[in-house]
């Protein structure tokens, strides 16, 4: 979706504010938000791409006004409501609905080090033909899907060169809406800064994006 989350190349966002000796979490609730979000994903009702897509759908004014972990909580609440893990009345009352059977949490303390050290690889060990090869000139397609995509607006229609083939990964556009993993090759594609931004930029500078087969066409 062409949302405000896709901000590469936008102007007017102000200076970068760096906090010295910044803590990992500024307040207790930030850590809790982070952890609750991870713990709830263990129910397997959604995936990482669905979480990102949910946060992208936060209204633009809120996207900018809310802090990072507030956006996580907004996204989490929406996903829990959609998948029936909680109800609107439960959120309003703060109590489980009458007659709700207490569950057993899948994300237990002993699962934490396993998740942290093993991760959740998005690569897929399946034979898929690569449509492009290292060194090839490609164009990022001019796609404007209303759903989730990881092809930023600033690269669409631009020509670049395949720098390396990362291998086969699940495809976020379909995975985010539970339409399948559609595994395909992901490439690091080098775009000259001048191709993206015009003549005002240094001729040797470039931006590398990781792009899936479905985002690319031969140039």
């Amino acid at each position: 979706m062409n949302g405000v989350h896709d901000m590469g190349g936008m102007h007017g966002m102000g200076p970068i504010e760096v906090e010295k000796n910044e803590p990992v979490f500024h307040e207790n609730w930030e850590g809790r938000s982070y952890a609750v979000t991870r713990a709830m994903s263990a129910w397997g009702k959604w995936n990482l791409d669905a979480s990102r897509f949910q946060r992208e759908q936060i209204a633009p004014v809120d996207y900018f006004q809310k802090s990072y972990y507030e956006r996580w909580i907004i996204g989490l609440v929406e996903l829990m409501l959609k998948t029936g893990l909680v109800t609107r009345t439960e959120l309003d009352s703060g109590r489980p609905d009458a007659g709700t059977v207490k569950q057993s949490p899948p994300f237990t303390p002993e699962k934490v080090p396993i998740l942290v050290s093993k991760g959740m690889p998005a690569s897929r060990n399946v034979p898929v033909v690569a449509n492009f090869h290292t060194g090839q000139l490609v164009r990022a397609r001019n796609l404007n899907p209303v759903g989730h995509t990881r092809l930023p607006r600033y690269a669409r229609g631009k020509t670049g060169r395949i720098d390396r083939d990362h291998g086969v990964f699940l495809f976020p556009d379909t995975n985010a809406v539970f339409l399948g993993e559609k595994p395909q090759h992901v490439y690091s594609v080098r775009f000259a800064a001048r191709e993206l931004w015009g003549d005002g930029t240094a001729p040797q500078d470039s931006v590398y994006l990781d792009l899936w087969d479905d985002y690319l066409e031969p140039a």
């Binding site: 938000s33 004014v61 991760g119 590398y208």
Partner: protein
Amino acid sequence: MSTTRRAFLTAAVSAAGAAVTPGHGQTHEHSHDHGHDHQTVPSDPALRVKALESLLVEKGLVDRAALDVLIDTYEHKVGPRNGAKVVARAWADSAFRQRLLTNSDAAIAELGYGGLQGEHMVVLENTSKIHNLVVCTLCSCYPWPVLGLPPVWYKSAPYRSRSVIDPRGVLREFGLELPESVEVRVWDSTAEVRYLVLPERPVGTETMKEEELAELVTRNAMIGVAKVAAPKESGAA
């Protein structure tokens, strides 16, 4: 929050005529010309998150002890000191450096690091001729196993918007002025590959041990918004 950012947010809020705010427990579909700021129900995210956690615990959806362990992991165990050790090893051991640049996952695993949000690592070497800079313009992708969770500025609109269109300006804001001749490569983390910058080893560190070198390496240098500074003259040789 600085005045600048506050002013920007205020402007952004008043510029938006009508918006729907999800997650209040009720839907707002009225026009927002009357100027309330959407922080009313409830006003404090701390209260809201506390209430949510209690509900989820009561429903048996979340184990509070697991949350504690996870938070402790990223507050105390997984952070940029991990990445600093990787960098120091690469500086001290040229064979490791080669492995790190050609098969980053395996080399990083030699130090015991890897996993969540670092399943597919690529290490980028900064030199006197090439400067690499990492960003995620679409969200906040960052190599957790070696750098921990990202700082606020990395996730902020100013950094995400500008680092791809004006990386030299961004670097200048961080106090790093690059010569015109240097090639700047920006890496937008659009997929599940995570990037770590291997900074240049500063001069004057030739006799330093790996553990001492690790002390010099900063998080910002491993994102590519800074160089590693030469050690201060201590006279302690």
